[in-house]
Subunit: 292 residues, 4 copies
Amino acid sequence: AHRLISPQLLGPALDRPKHIHKGDLGRLLVIAGSPGKTGAAAMASMSAMRAGAGLVTLAAPQSLCPVLEGLVIEAMTTPLAETQSGEIALSAREAVKMLLAGKSALAIGPGLGTHEETGRLIQALLLECPVPMVADADALNLIAQNPTLLKRAPSPVILTPHPGEMARLTGLSTNEIQENRTEVAREFALKNQVHVVLKGANTVVAHPDGLVCINPTGNPGMASGGMGDVLTGLIGAFLAQGLGPERSARLGVFVHGAAADLIAENIAPAGYLATDVMSMVPKALAGVWKNA
Amino acid sequence: AHRLISPQLLGPALDRPKHIHKGDLGRLLVIAGSPGKTGAAAMASMSAMRAGAGLVTLAAPQSLCPVLEGLVIEAMTTPLAETQSGEIALSAREAVKMLLAGKSALAIGPGLGTHEETGRLIQALLLECPVPMVADADALNLIAQNPTLLKRAPSPVILTPHPGEMARLTGLSTNEIQENRTEVAREFALKNQVHVVLKGANTVVAHPDGLVCINPTGNPGMASGGMGDVLTGLIGAFLAQGLGPERSARLGVFVHGAAADLIAENIAPAGYLATDVMSMVPKALAGVWKNA
Amino acid sequence: AHRLISPQLLGPALDRPKHIHKGDLGRLLVIAGSPGKTGAAAMASMSAMRAGAGLVTLAAPQSLCPVLEGLVIEAMTTPLAETQSGEIALSAREAVKMLLAGKSALAIGPGLGTHEETGRLIQALLLECPVPMVADADALNLIAQNPTLLKRAPSPVILTPHPGEMARLTGLSTNEIQENRTEVAREFALKNQVHVVLKGANTVVAHPDGLVCINPTGNPGMASGGMGDVLTGLIGAFLAQGLGPERSARLGVFVHGAAADLIAENIAPAGYLATDVMSMVPKALAGVWKNA
Amino acid sequence: AHRLISPQLLGPALDRPKHIHKGDLGRLLVIAGSPGKTGAAAMASMSAMRAGAGLVTLAAPQSLCPVLEGLVIEAMTTPLAETQSGEIALSAREAVKMLLAGKSALAIGPGLGTHEETGRLIQALLLECPVPMVADADALNLIAQNPTLLKRAPSPVILTPHPGEMARLTGLSTNEIQENRTEVAREFALKNQVHVVLKGANTVVAHPDGLVCINPTGNPGMASGGMGDVLTGLIGAFLAQGLGPERSARLGVFVHGAAADLIAENIAPAGYLATDVMSMVPKALAGVWKNA
């Protein structure tokens, strides 16, 4: 009882009429980064640009912004209040609310760390975010402390756990999850009324209405640090462009794998980097639209 | 009553005789950047190098210079006094005047922010800049507070608004502008005796004598953050090389679009970055000269 | 009495089953860097990613971390306590032990400097490292002060000296070593029960059981700063992926040379950089596996 | 009475026997950089790596080192004492002497600034440098204050002025120099017993024995900031590899122009950057050796 994701299932290309301008193509806010994990924040942000988001703003702990300004040339950065150990502080809440005011989507989590204050900020955001959001990585670990909040989110939420993060979210073991990937994702999505992207070979995309889709793209060379950050950026970009959570989640995982497959087939089956996948996204996305 | 920009209209290639040296190819001052928007400053500066400017100096808020020095390898940077929130301060006025002394053109605006002090600096510069200038982005928003100053500028001025910025400059709505792009640009150029580059599909270039040109190059993939910063750098570079404001404005928009078209046709129709366009400028410019 | 390394000797490709994830592909800790030598630390870390390590963490002197965060996008960084002159301090010992807890291998040495405190830290690590390690560059110079510790190491150790470092380790002259490369490496490996990679044309790989292998790949264009840092990263990555010290050492030197040979044959015989070799690793490794 | 530089005149390829190691290929010290001109320092250093120097150390004002460490991955950096305004201070003299002890050549000048203290340091270095040196850019302007020191230099000195710098060195006007390039360079070289590389179309290389060579490579696209910094790095690299000042100067200018010609012919006639030329050096150098 699931469908295979294909260009046809993904539907026609996002319309880019002649007079379109960057403001029409979404304003994405990325909240990411903590000391030692700036790369994750940069990759999520730049991947969103590669997926065609018009404007991307990266909000990160203030002391990391100088490094990040050197990494995200076409995106903007904005500093957030930080804890003594450098993670995003709860006191950033009002600033984040103001940043969200003009945005069309939120991507949160890459390299965020697991500080208790950051956790409380995320829980607050879950309950008041006015735009669709995708949450990944450390954001999932922080949400796992109180997953019942998910049902109270006023906007669509996409979670993108790998099996270990899914274990923390569900209380199941990784083995239990891997033996029953489709069912576990479906149940969690139904119960918490969120969209679940359970990563791994044949990524499972489960929707809150019980529909489950399976992704056929991707290859074992993707088992490498940073690949998840790229996926978060892609899904965030599609949300920001108004594709809706169902299409955004499916298109994100399909293009992510397709970009990696282009590299695996043409360059090398492994040892390619997450930033290589990021750079291949425009070509992969063009291929998807062409075959839709 | 407008002309279509073509290589023929742009005229013969800028002469590069055998003994030319970098000092003959213009000295451009770029004034740009504020916290979170260093990429815009870097892209404007490096785009000018890609358009053949001999020497480029980027003047930016002093605390951003360490980051910028890592981004603009072939250009030089110089620190300006900054406000408490990190924008260029009014007290930088004398330093800027001294920097302008040896320059052949000024590009101002990318990522500048909208601090009131920066606005006063720009207004002062408008009235005393000894070389032709191109103003974009936040500089336009600051000029919009007092557009009557434009007429008093002693040197040629090119403004490069997108429709939203044009709305702030004219007091019209974006819709009114988009429905009547040619006329709005022509009237503003005539009334304020400036050159107007009204961006968007079929960019309009209006000159102070009432002549209007329309640009045929470009594609919807350009609806992405940073593209305008690249254009500012290109026009600044042509001004610095002595092409005059008419040719500089037209050549800038034509090459900018042509570079993006090379990418859209050969790599992917969207998801390319402003820095990709920047890198393609030499090839696009060679194509223009060849067909002139 | 030695064998020539060949794809056949290296054995079948590391299995990457469909469901593999980054955690299965090793967690490598890199301890590297000192002021002026951050590039070495970055290259070792990123080379490990290029060799397919799932997760790489670079532990470096804390004041260098901002620079390193801009260089190692897909790897993580973690700051270590440092001496007044900026090298890793002995007081980092507990932090390093905690970092090692979740790791599958250690690569230590690139750009480390030769501070006495760093030396004591390395000697302590030798005696308590719970995972296989590769030691290079300054780590070798620090080990050379007390090589008898090697025999007491609880985990496999690979040393990767060039002839000058081998001289310091053995007390022989460089000439004595170069005239008798195979024997010197074999004896040191036997006596100290370590794996020795004696670099130079036809790198010698000597194992603690007396077996010696000779590497046929590589070219004189590799005589350039940073090449050794790349090798350290490769060997570390293979150790982290569980290939064992024999295969890791042999595969590391073979792929390192093969990647450089691809560049020498296709681009230029010299003047290529260590980072060029690093980028060619995935292709070279694919070639090795294909011919295994 | 001059010769045209050709691969034949440049002589056979630098021998790279199988057992060569990086220490055999020269240890170059680069002294360069001041605030706003870090790119010049980075390009000179990395160009030397591209020209095959075994080991390159960049000595720069201490507060610029963090930025430079992010730019010169394969080279090492070392901090020098600096003036209040950030240029290299006279008090760096002892440190520089110690750095020179183990080196085989010195390249000095790119982006150095013209602080009086830096000038005194350069004059002191002229009189005590134990290895051949190439001086460019601001170093020339500082030497111009007292060119009679040149004759007292204990080691070979190559100066690489453009016509404006040559004017400052000789007291002639730029016009006088350009009308009589060969003679002016020859006379200065004879009188001051240095090697002179007078840049511009058909760069003139004049030796202290009166011999003058003319370079046929290069194109007008090279009239762009940073090209001279690359040349300094190339000549420094050849000096460090022991080619002697005559061959180093000639080979440097020939390869520099040949690399730019490869780009002009294959990519675009202008708008390429100094770092593009730098990346093309290995291929250009291979072409020279092949035709020697």
